[in-house]
Each structure stands twice: as structure tokens, then as C-alpha cells.
């Protein structure tokens, strides 16, 4: 009987297309919006992947990685003296003004790393050498900086070029690849001491301390020790990611607006699929009644309706996912808008589509269950 159930549905071309269309749109909206949202959330912690370190030590009031509250210079040594800390290095970070080769002013994310170890420096050097940062007035810039600070569109800065940061000359000794900064600033790396010279003078200049645990100890254990012995906040990477994302949830409207769209996708799915499937059942009520008279049980008819609904649900899910993937590939090259398709979100959308299909079927099942087989003899 199930093949006939399918043929009945396919035979009603208009409703079939409407159902598939509604479910596809719903699945697309839910996965695509979730993908952009997850991509955006990933951006919020890109900082940590651009300056790799196991433990991030910050002011106790700092909850997320894109925020800094200056520490005392002496804090570096306090962290170094915590048992279990293999080494700890200072990090300077600040948004500074740079003058591009064409004379325009651009904001950059300045990062100052320890000159001796270059710890926290970029890992993907495309041109030049990171080690050259030890020389005076040098910087390593990322591709975005190279493009933004270039002489003109299409002529990016390269190794050997110069530009100004806060009216001081900076010479490019390397170009690196980074993950996009949450606020979209290009990255410019220099040695810690050099960065302090680029930046306007302030009483406290130390932004963060990056640390590594001794061999045999976990980042968790050592972060705990740093917290309890120094009173500073110390995060492992997963902790800082979680704290950052939680901060975004609590302090910005970003999650709420994405959730609204995702819920809207769900509601659109319910509305279109529910209404279309229900009218399909209503139009076929006479035939469903005849099947009932001929001895089809309520269970069988319900199973047939569920089969029909889940079939269009699966097709809609597949198409929606396909469109989302196409969107993902299209934006992957630009890196804009952010996009990240997680297995989690695929499963959640799948469940949502099943719920929508199940709901649509249920409307029909209620109608069919109440249907008296004797109606078939009434005009």
C-alpha cells in the first residue's frame, strides 16, 4: 500500500511541489542561518587560533578574548613563578591607526609578541621571515593588512615595503595568513617592545600573558594553579572559547536575531507543510473513507500518511541541505559571510523537519481517525 500512498501524493503535482518547496525553504533557512551564526561565533574566537597558546592569562574582569584590560608588567613574572608553568610570555594587543601607502588611515589589530621566543606569532608565513621581527621597526602583516594598506587596489604591500603606524615607520618583513578577526581588523605583528613604541604611551601596557604547562601537566591544572596563586583569570583554549561565546550570548543581540530567523524557518515549515498536507488529506478524504470501508485499519492509514509526510520531509531536507552546501561553497572563497556547517546543526534541522512532517501528518491522521467508513455511501 505504501507505493500507492506515494503515487497518490506524487499524482497531486501542485501540492507535492508546494510541500517540497516549503520544507526545502524551511530546511534551508534553518541550516543556512545556523551556519552563518556558527561561522560568526567561530569568528569571535579566531584570535585564539591566530596566536596559539595553551593558557591565556588576563585581568580577572576579562571574560572574552576580544576584550583587554591592561596588566602590570610584574604579572609576567608572577605567572612564571607558578609551579607547573613551563614558560609565560607577555602579549601586547591594541587597535591602532595605520597610514596606508595611498595616504588613507586604516585601523589595525596590533599584536606585540615576545621577541626572544616569538611565542604567539602567526604560524602560516606566506612570505618573508618571522625571525626578522627582532630587528627594529619591523612588522609581519596578514594578507588583509597587505591589501588594505597597499598603494592601490590590487597592489598589496609586500616584504620590503613600508607604511606608518601612529606616524612611525614600519617595515614589512613578512606576510602571514590569519583567520579573520571578529571585528574585521587586519593583523599586524611586531615584537613586544616594538609594539609599545608604535602604541601611544600608557601607564600599563601589558595586555595578556600566554603560557604553556610543563610536560606531564594539563593546561587545566596549570590554569587552575595560576588562578589561585595570582588572582588573575587564566583560561585554557576551550574555556576561553566557551566564556567568549557565552559572553556573546549574554551581551549581544546576535544569537537572538539568528534564533528568531531559525524559529521563523521552523514556523514557515509548519505553516506551509501543515496547511498543504492537510488540504491534501481533505481532498482525498472520500478515497481515504473508501479505503477504510474496504478494510484499511486506522493504523495502516496513519502509517500511509506518515510515510507520505516523511517522504516529502526527507526530500525537502535533502534539497535544503544541498542549497545550504551550495551557499557554503559559494561563500567559502570569500570568507564572507562567515559560515560553518556543523553536524550538530544538520541533526537539529533533521529533527526539526521530522517534527514538521510529523505534525503535518498528525493533522491528517486526526481527521482520518474520526472518519466513519459509512460516509462512502453518502453522496
Amino acid at each position: 500500500m505504501f507505493h500507492l500512498a506515494l503515487r497518490m501524493l506524487l499524482g497531486d503535482r501542485a501540492k507535492y511541489i508546494m510541500l517540497i518547496g516549503g520544507l526545502t525553504f524551511s530546511a534551508l533557512l534553518m541550516t543556512q542561518q545556523n551556519g552563518v551564526f556558527q561561522g560568526l561565533l567561530a569568528w569571535t574566537t579566531s584570535h585564539m587560533r591566530n596566536m596559539r597558546a595553551s593558557i591565556w592569562v588576563v585581568d580577572s574582569r576579562v571574560e572574552q578574548v576580544n576584550e583587554t584590560k591592561a596588566l602590570r608588567d610584574t604579572d609576567v613574572n608572577r605567572v612564571r613563578s607558578v609551579a607547573g608553568v613551563d614558560f609565560a610570555m607577555p602579549l601586547f594587543q591594541s587597535v591602532l591607526k595605520a597610514r596606508a601607502a595611498d595616504g588613507s588611515e586604516k585601523l589595525i589589530q596590533m599584536i606585540g609578541i615576545h621577541a626572544g621566543t616569538l611565542f604567539g606569532g602567526p604560524t602560516q608565513i606566506l612570505a618573508g621571515e618571522l625571525e626578522q621581527l627582532r630587528m627594529a621597526n619591523t612588522v609581519v602583516i596578514d594578507e588583509l593588512a597587505a591589501e588594505r594598506l597597499g598603494r592601490a587596489a590590487g597592489i598589496p604591500l609586500t616584504v620590503g615595503d613600508t607604511f606608518e603606524i601612529n606616524d612611525r615607520e614600519a617595515r614589512v618583513v613578512g606576510v602571514c595568513r590569519t583567520e579573520r578577526h571578529f571585528f574585521g581588523y587586519p593583523y599586524v605583528f611586531s615584537s613586544y617592545d616594538q609594539a609599545l613604541q608604535f602604541a601611544p604611551r600608557q601607564r600599563k601596557m601589558l595586555s595578556m600573558i600566554l603560557a604553556e604547562p610543563k610536560a606531564g601537566l594539563t593546561a587545566d591544572e596549570v590554569a587552575n594553579a595560576i588562578r589561585s596563586e595570582t588572582g588573575l583569570a587564566a583560561y585554557t583554549v576551550p574555556q576561553f572559547e566557551k566564556s567568549t561565546i557565552s559572553w556573546i550570548w549574554r551581551n549581544t543581540g546576535i544569537p537572538a536575531s539568528f534564533m528568531t530567523t531559525i524559529i521563523l524557518g521552523f514556523i514557515v515549515g509548519i505553516a506551509i507543510a501543515g496547511q498543504t498536507f492537510y488540504s491534501f488529506v481533505l481532498e482525498n478524504l472520500r478515497h481515504l473513507g473508501a479505503l477504510k470501508a474496504m478494510g484499511a485499519s486506522n493504523g495502516l492509514l496513519s502509517a500511509m500518511l506518515l510515510f507520505q509526510a516523511f517522504t516529502v520531509g526527507l526530500i525537502g531536507y535533502g534539497l535544503g541541505l544541498g542549497l545550504t552546501a551550495a551557499f557554503g561553497f559559494a561563500v567559502a572563497d570569500h570568507g564572507q559571510p562567515p559560515f560553518r556547517l556543523l553536524p550538530d546543526s544538520l541533526i537539529r534541522t533533521f529533527v526539526a523537519i521530522l517534527l514538521i512532517s510529523g505534525f503535518a501528518a498528525l493533522l491528517g491522521i486526526r481527521k482520518v481517525a474520526k472518519l466513519e467508513p459509512a460516509v462512502v455511501f453518502r453522496g
Partner: protein, 250 residues
């Protein structure tokens, strides 16, 4: 699942036997008593016509006999099975195996082809799809619809559609064939063709055909005719009495 000749009931057992059946619809002012203690018997191997003025309860009686409608009091036996107190699922299974239905408006599923439409009762009884379609196509052929197996019902004339509906009602070889005004939507000539087929079907051993009709042109096909009036039975005719009845009403 499907009854074979070896399990035929005793030929003297009535196909349908209703005793003192009462059926009312609605409550209060809207209450209508459609059957007022009706006694009705249909024998095996006969084509039985049920006639009477509009609203006298013909469809209601047919529905009770077919097991598609609950009644309020009285007893209902179909081929020796008492339907009183039988659980709904058993009644449904009984209909599935032993009752074939023909509707006034044919009630074929327009999105399915003829073979698929006819195969439904077989599929409901657990026959495999391939065999169900083969048997359905063979029956369509016997009813003069060979070559049209893959057509849709809407591509056929009314008479052809009703023949498809008959094929669907007969394909699982039910004991009881039920039809409510099967010829009223058809022209005279086509109506006769349909009655021919139904009266042939009634000759099958262990089968009974009950037809509600308003159409005096069909009376000649009856082995027995029950006249209804106001929720009760006004008379049963067969043999010479039936021939007299027909000559009066024709």
C-alpha cells in the same frame, strides 16, 4: 487470508441476517430513526435488490449489513458471523476479507491507474504487489478493459469506471458484494451491462450480492427483492410474486 472454495460456508446459512435492527441518528430534535426494528435476510447465491422511497433507510441497512455502520439494537449476522459485540478491529478485518464495495460515484482514486486501483483490496489482504497487479490486470481484461490497465480512471467513460469499480469489489473474491445505486450515474444501456456483470457475480457459490436501487430497469435482474418503507421492511418478493411486482412497477 482470502477465503478459498474449501472454506465455503454451509450454503443454507443466510448471507446476511438482520433481526430487529434499530438505528437512530442524532439526538433531541435532530434525532431520526432510520431503522425501526428491521428484519432482513439475504441468501447465498442470489442477487438481492433493496428498493423503497428516498429516506426510507436503504443505505443505512446496507451499511449495517456491510459492517461499516454501528447500530443501536437487534442482531446482525453475516455468513454465520455475529457482528454484535465484535471488536472494531475484527469488523474491519471481516470487511477487508469478505466484503466488496461498489459506490454510486465509483470512488476510484484518480491519481492511480486502473490496475493499481483494482489491486487495493488484495494489497490490504497482504497479497504481494506483483501478484496483486497480475490478478487485477487479468480481471480488468475479463471485464472488457484489456489494454487500458495503465490508464487513469478519468480517461474512461462512466460505465467503464463502474466496471473498474466492480473489478475492485470482486478482485479478492469476497462473499458479500454491496452496491448502493451502482447504475444511477449511468445511461440505460451501460446500466444493463453493469447489472449483467453483477448478476453473473452473484452466481458464484457462497456469494451474495445486495444492491440498493431506485432504478426499475434493474428489477429484472433480481433473484429476490426487498421493499422498504419508513425504516422497516414492507415486503419481500421472489418467484412469481417478484414477476408481478416488476410488471406493476415497470
Amino acid at each position: 487470508m482470502i477465503t478459498s472454495a474449501s472454506t465455503l460456508p454451509d450454503p443454507t446459512t443466510p448471507a446476511v441476517s438482520l433481526r430487529g435492527v434499530v438505528k437512530a441518528f442524532g439526538t433531541g430534535d435532530a434525532r431520526t430513526v432510520a431503522l425501526k426494528g428491521a428484519d432482513f435476510t439475504a441468501a447465498q447465491g442470489e442477487l438481492h435488490l433493496l428498493v423503497g422511497p428516498s429516506g426510507c433507510g436503504k443505505t443505512t441497512l446496507l451499511s449495517v449489513a456491510a459492517g461499516t455502520l454501528d447500530w443501536d439494537s437487534g442482531t446482525v449476522d453475516v455468513f454465520g458471523t455475529r457482528l454484535n459485540g465484535l471488536p472494531k478491529s475484527k469488523v474491519t478485518a471481516f470487511r477487508r476479507q469478505h466484503v466488496g464495495f461498489i459506490f454510486q460515484q465509483f470512488n476510484l482514486i484518480p491519481t492511480l491507474d486502473l490496475t493499481e486501483n483494482v489491486s487495493v483490496p488484495l494489497l490490504l489482504n497482504g497479497v504481494r504487489r506483483h501478484e496483486a497487479e497480475e490478478r487485477s490486470a487479468a480481471l480488468l481484461q475479463r471485464l472488457g478493459l484489456g489494454g487500458k490497465e495503465r490508464k487513469r480512471p478519468t480517461q474512461l467513460s462512466g460505465g467503464q469506471q463502474q466496471r473498474v469499480a466492480i473489478a475492485r469489489a470482486l478482485v479478492h473474491e469476497p462473499r458479500l458484494l454491496i452496491a448502493d445505486e451502482p447504475t444511477s450515474a449511468l445511461d440505460r444501456e451501460t446500466g444493463h451491462q453493469i447489472m449483467e456483470i453483477l448478476s453473473t457475480a452473484a452466481r458464484s457459490p457462497g456469494r451474495s450480492v445486495i444492491i440498493v436501487t431506485h432504478d426499475p430497469r434493474t428489477y429484472g435482474y433480481a433473484d429476490r427483492l426487498t421493499e422498504m418503507e419508513d425504516g422497516g421492511i414492507a415486503g419481500v418478493h421472489h418467484g412469481q410474486a417478484l414477476r408481478d411486482f416488476i410488471s406493476i412497477h415497470h
